[in-house]
């Protein structure tokens, strides 16, 4: 064993009380770091999920925001389309031009062209207002995760199949395989077979959404090849803003490109200030722990000055003499932060287990991020090694003569 290691270990072992005191300090500090970190992370992720879980990260719409009915009723607007397609075959491929431009952006993950319109659904004599969404199910599924959340029936929308929200089904007593009528505001109506009922865990969506194939929606709404919006899912959720800006540059001026951040600016400001106050707390915890370690180690150098002096007389190098304390700082930081992380995770688990909503569900899922914990361990270990610099320098400066002369 290297001598510096051996001595720092023996010194730590002999000063049990101090060692335990420092370890306790680091453990408490680190467990707070981990706990607060995962608490705030969980809280924020939960909030963001609730906010954007059921919505696309970026929505591209036309700037010419004129209701369809108005366009059709007035010849002046005859040629104004929402998003103009190149040909009339009502196929998604007609949007290839935009598709090509958008897909070049590295962050874009899913591009889902969508037709949205309001309408009514009725079965027997009861009816209910709905939002008709014409989608490509495979693409939209990556945004809304519909397929996994079908609670009865099958996720099929091809042909005259329709998927409806749980609350619509409850209100109108619709079951899978029932035939329903969908009516558009301008009076077009068609019959659809309910192939499945979904629950997107959001009451307003469950109460209004009806999903049909995009081609079918275009036909129903007499849209030719037009769509109302392009919905986009990105890889890096938090760079959606940048992506939306660069898409804005690529596409021509007729388009509105809006990221979820713009739509939810207020929540984001709140989250940001929460993050910075969390960071502030964490920084101060690290500083407090570092100061604690530094002061205890500084005392320990004074206590061990006789030993250091005698070791120097016996020929130990100045560098080794200071390493003894750096290693102590490192060991304390490393061991303490590992124990602390364990405690922090335990604390988080306890929080999830015991702090519950009235209905017994956890308040929000706590997110224990292993990468973040590794960062915490790294930072604490570095801080505690750093804290040992002052004692280490003291040890380096110590003159054996003083010790020997003064006993």
């Amino acid at each position: 064993m290297p001598i510096e290691f051996m001595l720092s270990w023996k010194f730590l072992k002999s000063g049990k009380f101090q060692t335990i005191l420092i370890l306790l300090g680091i453990t408490v500090g680190v467990s707070i770091l981990v706990f607060i970190g995962s608490l705030i992370d969980g809280l924020q992720k939960d909030l963001i999920n609730r906010t954007i879980g059921n919505s696309p990260h970026i929505v591209i719409t036309s700037k010419t925001d004129i209701p369809r009915a108005q366009i059709e009723g007035n010849n002046i607007y005859k040629n104004v389309k929402l998003l103009k397609a190149n040909n009339q075959d009502n196929n998604i491929s007609s949007f290839q031009d935009y598709n090509q431009l958008i897909i070049k952006n590295q962050n874009v993950n899913v591009i889902s062209p969508t037709v949205t319109a309001s309408g009514f659904i009725n079965k027997s004599k009861s009816n209910s207002p709905i939002t008709i969404k014409g989608i490509n199910l495979d693409k939209a599924d990556k945004i809304y995760n519909v397929k996994d959340r079908i609670i009865s029936g099958l996720p099929i929308i091809s042909g005259n199949n329709i998927l409806i929200g749980k609350s619509i089904a409850n209100d109108l007593e619709i079951k899978v395989n029932d035939i329903v009528t969908v009516t558009t505001p301008n009076g077009n109506r068609d019959l659809f077979t309910v192939s499945g009922i979904f629950d997107l865990e959001n009451e307003s969506i469950n109460k209004t959404w009806a999903l049909i194939e995009i081609n079918r929606a275009q036909k129903l709404l007499r849209l030719d090849g037009d769509i109302s919006s392009i919905e986009i899912q990105v890889n890096e959720v938090f760079s959606a803003e940048d992506t939306s800006k660069s898409l804005e540059r690529v596409l021509n001026e007729d388009f509105n490109v809006e990221s979820w951040q713009e739509t939810n600016a207020q929540i984001l400001t709140a989250l940001n200030s929460q993050s910075s106050s969390t960071l502030l707390i964490q920084v101060f915890v690290v500083i407090a722990v570092t100061l604690g370690i530094a002061s205890v180690l500084a005392i320990s150098v004074i206590q061990k000055s006789r030993q250091i002096g005698i070791l120097k007389a016996m020929g130990i190098k100045t560098k080794s003499a200071s390493f003894i304390f750096l290693i102590q700082g490192f060991l304390l930081g490393f061991v303490g932060s590992i124990i602390g992380s364990g405690f922090g995770m335990l604390l988080s688990k306890l929080f999830v287990t015991f702090v519950r909503q009235d209905n017994g569900e956890p308040l929000f899922p706590i997110d224990i991020d292993l990468k973040q914990i590794l960062v915490v361990i790294l930072i604490s270990t570095l801080a505690s090694t750093f804290a040992a610099i002052v004692p280490a320098r003291r040890s380096a400066r110590l003159n054996p003569i003083e010790v020997i002369r003064n006993g």
């Binding site: 051996m6 030993q307 120097k312 020929g315 130990i316």
Partner: protein, 251 residues
């Protein structure tokens, strides 16, 4: 016998504003294998001299030659290595590390020179030294479980582990009762004969001093006597140094 160590015009001044010259240009040579004691009253400068010889302190003026090599211009790192290789220290207070056991204490200088756990041969040597100093049954005890005499013996074993050419002892028996003092002294003598190391012992105990091969007396920073005892009988040398209060002389 060849010279192991030569001191040339060693001066030591303490303080910067008010200067106190403690040593006034000492010239002393020490031979290989010699057993020398340095005596003098407290404040005479004998401990300072020993610290300068051991390179723990630097002389203000003058030079030290060790095996014809000048030590003055070595830096801290070179001096550390020099001390580790060539000098064994025995202090008035044993200065064993309370954190490690007896065997590890004895091994410490070897541990320092190698930088990591010493080899099996060195460990064997350490055990033998502990046996020689007679504390074999306390090998794995901590120093605070030993008596004062035992601790000082362990300190002696520690000073010898790297087989140094020079062993420096500052009042090695100053803290011991007269029984232990005699035993420790006998031990030092035996080791001097067996290992052929040069011993320089600072003491104010005239009985110890008188038993050395050579006695150097220092007063106010000057050598006032340098006596060779070889060939004299004990009583004669005692009379030289303790003319008035020697209990042995009255026998």
């Amino acid at each position: 016998m060849d010279n192991l160590l030569q001191l040339k015009n060693i001066k030591k001044v303490y303080g910067t504003k008010i200067k106190t010259e403690v040593l006034h240009g000492l010239n002393i040579s020490f031979k290989k294998g010699e057993f020398v004691s340095i005596i003098g009253q407290s404040g005479s400068g004998k401990s300072t001299l020993l610290n300068i010889i051991g390179t723990l302190d630097k002389p203000t003026e003058g030079e030290i030659l060790f095996k014809e090599k000048r030590l003055n211009h070595m830096n801290g790192k070179e001096l550390s290595t020099f001390r580790n290789d060539n000098v064994g220290f025995i202090f008035q207070f044993h200065y064993l590390l309370p954190e490690v056991n007896v065997l590890e204490n004895v091994l410490m200088p070897a541990w320092i020179s190698k930088g990591r756990t010493p080899s099996k041969d060195v460990i064997k040597r350490a055990k033998r030294l502990i046996e020689i100093v007679g504390v074999k049954d306390r090998m794995y005890n901590k120093p605070n479980e030993l008596s004062g005499g035992q601790r000082q013996r362990i300190a002696i074993a520690r000073a010898l582990i790297n087989n140094p050419a020079l062993v420096l002892a500052d009042e090695p028996t100053g803290n011991l009762d007269s029984d232990s003092t005699d035993k420790v002294y006998e031990l030092l003598r035996d080791i001097n004969k067996e290992f052929k190391s040069t011993f320089i012992i600072v003491t104010h105990d005239m009985h110890i001093a008188a038993k050395a091969d050579r006695v150097i007396e220092i007063k106010d920073g000057n050598v006032i006597r340098d006596v060779n005892n070889i060939g004299k009988n004990e009583i004669e040398s005692f009379k030289d140094f303790t003319p008035t209060s020697c209990f042995l002389c009255e026998k």
